[in-house]
């Protein structure tokens, strides 16, 4: 009876050495679609994701393409030990393969690959960041909201920013008007400056923050191209909605909003409130900064 509990979970693939989670492109005439992607890799084998099942016992010749210069692309035969569909996804299959190096060169390549992967895995994020700062001390990557000197988060009662509506036009998406129409942002206080709505069809590629120059850099992907926008003297950066893979439908910019008023920005520099919006007008990202630029320096 105890045998049930003592029984080891069947080993799907017999591989020695450490495995490294690494995503590399693998090419082979014998793979479905002639390609696969590594899920993990060790000196003795690889777990591959392909868009078709691999035949157990088959020995495809795999060509590995490395994403860094430390390793050259190399080719090695491997034997399929197991292969299965991933969940209910009919386009994703996982397979375990063991390398069958024949020549000394192939063995050397595998050993070198293992060493490089081990080095990579031991390099923690802090070291990478330190290295990046040494290369460009101005640049510090951040994937969190920026801590500004004057942190500000809109109060729950704050009105969302919408440009004044144009007569005869449907309310969202917001339009642009220069006519002195009823302010939609706030009823009391000085009349707001009217804004500009710039239609876009882009995806957020990423952003970086330069603490030294207080400049926020935003990368916008349009097809295969990434366009850079720089927001100097950035006083507020707030991600309102998760923006990953979300299409940015437009950018609304205004000189005055409840947010800019509450930030109470003094000094000679002009500041604007930028809001990237999704289809339908929902805010995605809020920025308050000096007028945006297409280059890091004005």
């Amino acid at each position: 009876m105890l045998s049930r509990f003592l029984k080891k979970k069947p080993q799907l693939i017999d591989r020695d050495g450490d495995r490294y989670d690494v995503s590399l492109r693998v090419l082979s005439r014998e793979l479905p679609g002639y390609r696969g992607v590594t899920l993990d890799l060790s000196r003795s084998g690889v777990q591959l994701e392909t868009n078709g099942l691999l035949e157990i016992g088959s020995e495809p010749e795999l060509k590995f393409e490395f994403d860094r210069g430390e390793l050259e692309a190399f080719t090695c035969k491997a034997r399929v030990v197991w292969s299965k569909q991933e969940g209910n996804n009919e386009r994703k299959f996982r397979s375990g393969l063991t390398f069958i190096p024949v020549t000394d060169d192939e063995k050397r390549q595998l050993a070198r690959m293992s060493t490089v992967l081990q080095t990579r895995s031991e390099t923690d994020l802090k070291t990478l960041l330190d290295q990046a700062r040494r290369i460009d001390p101005e640049l510090e990557r951040s994937y969190r909201n920026i801590q500004t000197n004057q942190p500000f988060y809109p109060a729950p009662g704050d009105s969302p920013i919408h440009p004044p509506s144009v007569e005869g036009a449907p309310p969202p998406p917001p339009a642009v008007s220069a006519a002195p129409e009823t302010p939609a942002v706030q009823q009391d206080g000085p009349p707001p400056h009217l804004g500009v709505y710039i239609p876009l069809n882009v995806i957020l590629e990423g952003y970086t923050w330069s603490r030294a120059s207080c400049t926020l850099h935003i990368g916008l992907r349009e097809g295969d191209q990434v366009h850079n926008l720089f927001f100097p003297d950035c006083q507020l950066f707030q991600v309102l909605e998760p923006t990953v893979d979300k299409t940015i439908a437009g950018l609304y910019t205004t000189k005055t909003s409840p947010t800019t008023r509450k930030l109470n920005l003094a000094g000679d520099r002009e500041h604007k409130h930028y809001r990237f919006v999704a289809e339908g007008g929902d805010g995605l990202i809020d920025i308050v900064s000096s007028p945006c630029r297409s280059t890091p320096q004005g």
């Binding site: 144009v166 036009a169 998406p173 339009a175 642009v176 008007s177 220069a178 006519a179 400056h193 009217l194 804004g195 500009v196 709505y197 710039i198 239609p199 876009l200 882009v202 916008l220 349009e222 191209q225 366009h227 850079n228 926008l229 950018l251 910019t253 205004t254 000189k255 604007k272 007028p291 945006c292 630029r293 297409s294």
Partner: protein
């Protein structure tokens, strides 16, 4: 930015502001023209942000015929301005005045003007 391109960009924004109302159609047409002129998306965003937040200080018409020596370039510039003009589907008297003045100075024939009008109308469809 070359002087001629700078002048044309200034004229395009003047055309957008001619009636003091900037419509979404005009912004769309302007974006498309600026991209065709070779501006990147970031440059277009910055230009629109800078020049559409308030009316231009200088409203004196840009002398397109002076900044573009070539007749073909003059006609191309005029077509771009007419594209903005026709983008809303209705023509504003101030915009017509701007175009008329330019046509007179350029000495365009009725036939040439009609050709440009057709091309500009097609561009906005």
């Amino acid at each position: 930015m070359a002087n001629s391109t700078h002048g044309l960009v200034k004229a395009l924004f003047q055309m957008v502001w001619a009636d003091d109302i900037v419509s979404p159609e005009e912004v769309e047409a302007l974006t498309s023209i600026l991209r065709q002129l070779g501006f990147s998306l970031s440059e277009v965003i910055c230009l629109l942000d800078k020049n559409l937040s308030e009316p231009p200080d200088d409203r004196s018409p840009v002398q397109i015929e002076e900044i573009f020596p070539s007749r073909e370039d003059q006609k191309m510039a005029l077509q771009a301005l007419m594209t903005i003009c026709f983008s809303t589907g209705s023509i504003d008297p101030e915009q017509v005045g701007y175009i008329e003045g330019l046509v007179m100075r350029m000495g365009l024939s009725a036939h040439e003007l009609e050709e440009l009008r057709k091309q500009a109308t097609e561009a906005t469809c």
